[in-house]
Symmetry: C2
Subunit: 245 residues, 2 copies
């Protein structure tokens, strides 16, 4: 086993850089491809460490990681999902409602490990460096931990699905999470039969990938690069290099 690069290597060698982009572009929100194979502690330990090394405002590290494997807890959470999803479905109409009803939006029972990542807003007291004005920064830090774990999981061959169709207070109560703690993400984790070539909602025709060219502004809100956008050829090169991007 070769030692990894020094922490101060910058930039990475091309193959290492490629690996980071591959994790980013082939990461998927998994609902339907979970395998029952257990996740070894060595892999789960690495994933949790990756999450723990997310950036956090004022270095407050506001997160906790609640691992859920018991069938009873999972079933309780899935019941909450089902109830909330029935409510959600009624908010769509016509063809959208039909399509919505056909989508599988969680893999709670299929995934061997469920993980609730939470935010303790008072971990380091009321006053937090960097949170004095934008008070939601600690919630955002916790989301960075989610994304770290998601990308590390992709590299490990572990799929992650973020389930968000819950009444938060019900989820919190079902998991015994104290009131002062904010549950940020309920994640399903497991090995997968495949990582889909594209996001499932894109494949299903729910929405299309937006052209990045329309989303990047220069100096002024709304000012795209236009026909001479000097960044556009580089987006195109990425799409070509990572066929799935």
């Amino acid at each position: 086993m070769n030692a990894p690069q020094s922490p101060n290597t910058h930039p990475f060698a091309e193959a290492a850089r490629d690996a980071v982009y591959q994790a980013i572009f082939s990461r998927r929100d998994v609902r339907s491809q979970f395998l029952p194979d257990p996740i070894p502690d060595t892999v789960l330990g690495r994933l949790l460490m990756a999450a723990h090394h997310a950036p956090s405002v004022g270095f407050m590290q506001p997160w906790n990681f609640l691992l859920i494997r018991s069938p009873e807890s999972k079933a309780r959470v899935q019941d909450l999902f089902r109830k909330a999803n029935d409510e959600a479905r009624t908010q769509f109409t016509g063809d959208r409602k039909d399509l919505y009803s056909r989508l599988k939006l969680e893999g709670i029972l299929d995934a061997p490990v469920n993980l609730c990542i939470t935010c303790d807003r008072e971990r380091t007291g009321q006053t937090v460096l960097g949170r004095t004005h934008m008070t939601e920064m600690d919630l955002y830090s916790t989301v960075c931990a989610v994304q770290n774990l998601w990308l590390a999981a992709r590299a490990e061959g572990v799929g992650v699905g973020w389930v968000s169709i819950f009444h938060r207070d019900e989820l919190q109560k079902a998991l015994g999470i104290p009131e002062r703690i904010v549950p940020i993400a309920y994640l399903c984790l497991g090995y997968v039969s495949e990582f889909l070539e594209k996001p499932e909602l894109e494949k299903a025709g729910w929405l299309s990938r937006l052209p990045l060219e329309d989303l990047v502004f220069h100096e002024t809100w709304g000012q795209t690069g236009g026909p001479n956008d000097s960044l556009a050829p580089h987006y195109q090169a990425m799409r070509k290099r990572y066929g799935y991007a």
Copy 2:
């Protein structure tokens, strides 16, 4: 240039997995090490594409990327920072106040590129799949885009610093961002003289890294692994393998 792995490769080969963990563990919130060297379009294009491939609730892709390079805009933003930071400082007392005053908390003028990543909450209408119950999911999606960019930047040798000491409405006005849009992150981007071995706030003695062993719960809130925690040896192995972790 070798073609990258197929999108369906899972898990990654060991060296590729290592690269992902290296990006995660050696990523830093940069304030003091920026170099004036410009970021080539090819690199900036890759970073933006990485951000654009973040997960988003209901595939709504609610983000925009406002690039700021003009010295005038940067100076305007730095003024807002200075004013807010003067207010922030008064919230700390004694030794903490002295230490706070010595910390450099932004690199707005030093970094060649500034980037505001925003969230358009109505991009795909009022009703969004997955946002029906947890209404902040689109804000969280945008944070995932920030973290994707941050990790890709580490692989490219580009440092990123997230500046959060602003009154949001003032920042928004200074950048001409419409009221209905939520600015999520104001980032400073540039090549760096070095990536610090540890987070700057940890080095400065502001706060210490928490032991992950205390943050992971099993099945029940508060139930750590205790003395026989089967995950702990694997955290320890990570700390050893990535000396900086």
